[in-house]
């Protein structure tokens, strides 16, 4: 075993290389964790973290007593998560299966290039595009007007807001999300597949018994990550469109924190809600991972 001094002499360059990254992570991931202390303070910006008075659990009151504004944000968040797990999550799997079965390699490449692209656009651009297509003065309605048909009000209608943001998520990320399923599908053993065909297995049976085992670990992994993120739904996407539909339909936990803290100056309550959200998020990932282990899957990390 080398002495500590020898190891320092040998590895100091490596430590020096790690320094900028480590500093950034400490300053902007670990240091802010300490800032959560203001969840227990009556935080006054001019007094700062060091001098603001402590108020115990007062800031957690909206959460503990079920304040309607908070509950609305919580319920919206959960509904959006549910919609996205049920309707959005399976789409890339289907698309990957379709792409994988496409015969021409060139056609597959071209389609992939086109379908991946929206992932790289910002939410501002995606929201702008949707408004230009479906807004009251947008392309769809201009065309309907010119054809003397009645127009659709889609943008700015609270009842349709969740449908709207779900379609945006589908448009932006379905293509890109196939990438990891396609990687898993590329490892399907052709000999095994041929044997299944020779044995007369139907397409559905081949999918179930041959293909699925290859992509199941990936599905479980992504589902765990999605569950861990249950309480975070499209913050940038929603904040951009909130003014059009109002808080009733669009407030989620993250926008609640932003609107009450940064905009409204109720720092303590906002930090308290943010803190609870963070803790529940970590607990959800760990819990979902244990569940995956219990079901015999590998999960995010091996046991």
């Amino acid at each position: 075993m080398h002495s500590l001094r020898d190891r320092w002499r040998r590895d100091r360059v490596l430590l020096l290389l790690a320094l900028p990254g480590v500093t950034a992570l400490l300053l902007f991931h670990y240091l802010p964790l300490g800032g959560n202390i203001i969840a227990f303070q009556d935080f006054q910006p001019f007094l700062g973290i060091w001098h603001s008075p402590y108020v115990g659990l007062d800031n957690f009151e909206p959460v503990l007593t079920g304040d309607p504004v908070f509950l609305n944000a919580l319920v919206n968040t959960l509904i959006i998560t549910l919609i996205q797990v049920v309707f959005v999550f399976p789409l890339p799997i289907c698309l990957a299966l379709i792409l994988n079965a496409t015969i021409s390699e060139r056609l597959k490449r071209l389609t992939q290039s086109i379908l991946y692209m929206p992932h790289f656009l910002s939410w501002v651009i995606v929201v702008a595009l949707f408004q230009q297509m479906f807004g009251n003065g947008g392309m769809l309605n201009a065309w309907l007007r010119s054809a003397d048909l009645s127009t659709f009000h889609i943008v700015g209608v609270p009842e349709l807001f969740k449908l709207m943001i779900t379609s945006q998520v589908i448009w932006k990320d379905t293509g890109w999300s196939t990438i990891i399923f396609l990687a898993a599908l590329s490892r399907v053993d052709p000999a095994q597949m041929e044997a299944a065909v020779v044995d007369g297995a139907s397409a559905a049976r081949r999918l179930w018994h041959v293909t699925l085992p290859y992509i199941r670990p990936v599905i479980v992994l992504l589902l765990i990550l999605r569950l861990g993120d249950s309480l975070s739904v499209g913050f940038e996407q929603i904040i951009l469109q909130q003014a059009q539909v109002g808080a009733g339909a669009s407030e989620v936990l993250d926008t609640y924190v932003y609107n009450h803290g940064i905009v409204g100056g109720d720092w303590g309550t906002a930090a308290a809600v943010g803190l609870i959200k963070g803790i529940v998020g970590v607990a959800l990932v760990l819990g979902a991972n244990r569940l995956a282990h219990a079901l015999g899957e590998q999960g995010v990390y091996a046991k």
Binding site: L14, L17, G35, N36, L95, I125
Partner: protein, 289 residues
């Protein structure tokens, strides 16, 4: 594979074709509207899908030195500087972590991975940036997102795929760590460096909320904030904002669409160059890592 089924083939083709159209049509409409003449736009009542009298007036109006031009330069600057800083610190950290058994390697790796599990929250982040005196500074858009742990892990996995013998023989020949990193590891890692570089560049170019949160003065706005104000929120944009010398400003909608095109163009431009590395660069890290 499997028996050829005409119906299945047709259905698959239809799904893929519709998917591609759903992506392409909005871009086409935006592009055409940005170059259509005012008369055509009037006739169509907004969007046009084809123009016979293309004009670059709206681009001229937008790029002649007003708020959009300035925002474009700001976004370009942040993207170039940010991507360079992020790549250097990510490569350096990933390389240090790719050497199991070196001093402090384990705790630093744990510390890096752990940041994937939690998010400090909006309020504490804001207060931290404020405490560090970075409010209203461009550094606030770069330093908090300087290294992304996921990118570090992907790059580290890629570095570890490089045969040890290459590194060890260079070490025997007296090369130091820096030399090994620059001369041996990096030249073999072009794929992963391009892909991670693209991820960082896209993130910097697209950053909207951090700019809204940390920048107070509108002179400092990057393109995404201009886009939000004048396209999403539909705030009228006139000669005051554009400081344009054109006699007649082009129609509002073609100015808006020109801003949209300008903000998408850089991404469309670098995308094909990097795309060929996707499979190679991302898969090694994501699937094996």
């Amino acid at each position: 594979m499997g028996e050829p089924s005409k119906l299945g083939f047709g259905a698959r083709g239809l799904v893929l074709g519709l998917g591609c159209l759903a992506v392409l049509v909005p871009f086409w409409a935006v592009l055409m509207t940005s170059i259509a003449s005012p008369e055509e736009i009037n006739r169509a009542g907004g969007f046009v899908l084809w123009t016979n009298e293309p004009t670059l007036d709206s681009y001229r109006a937008v790029l002649s030195g007003g708020i959009v031009t300035r925002a474009l330069l700001v976004s370009a600057g942040i993207t170039v500087v940010g991507t360079a800083l992020s790549l250097v610190s990510t490569i350096a950290l990933a390389y240090a972590l790719s050497r199991p058994g070196s001093l402090l390697q384990k705790p630093i790796l744990l510390m890096t991975v752990f940041t994937l599990l939690f998010n400090p929250g909006i309020i504490p982040m804001y207060l931290t940036v404020k405490q560090l005196g970075l409010l209203d500074s461009y550094l606030a858009l770069i330093l908090p997102v300087l290294v992304n742990a996921f990118n570090v892990i992907v790059m580290r996995a890629f570095f570890q795929e490089i045969p040890r013998e290459l590194r060890e023989s260079a070490y025997m020949d007296g090369a130091g760590e820096m030399r090994i990193l620059l001369r041996i590891v990096l030249p073999l890692s072009k794929a992963v460096v391009s892909v991670i570089g693209l991820f960082y560049a896209v993130a910097y170019w697209n950053a909207f909320f951090s700019a809204m949160l940390y920048l107070q003065s509108s002179e400092k706005w990057p393109l995404q904030l201009v886009l939000r104000t004048y396209v999403v929120n539909n705030t009228p944009i006139g000669s005051d904002q554009l400081s344009s010398n054109l006699e007649n400003l082009p129609p509002q909608i073609s100015v808006q669409m020109a801003i949209l095109v300008i903000s998408v163009l850089p991404i469309l431009f670098i995308y094909p160059f990097i795309q060929k590395h996707f499979a190679k660069g991302l898969m090694v890290g994501a699937v094996k890592g």
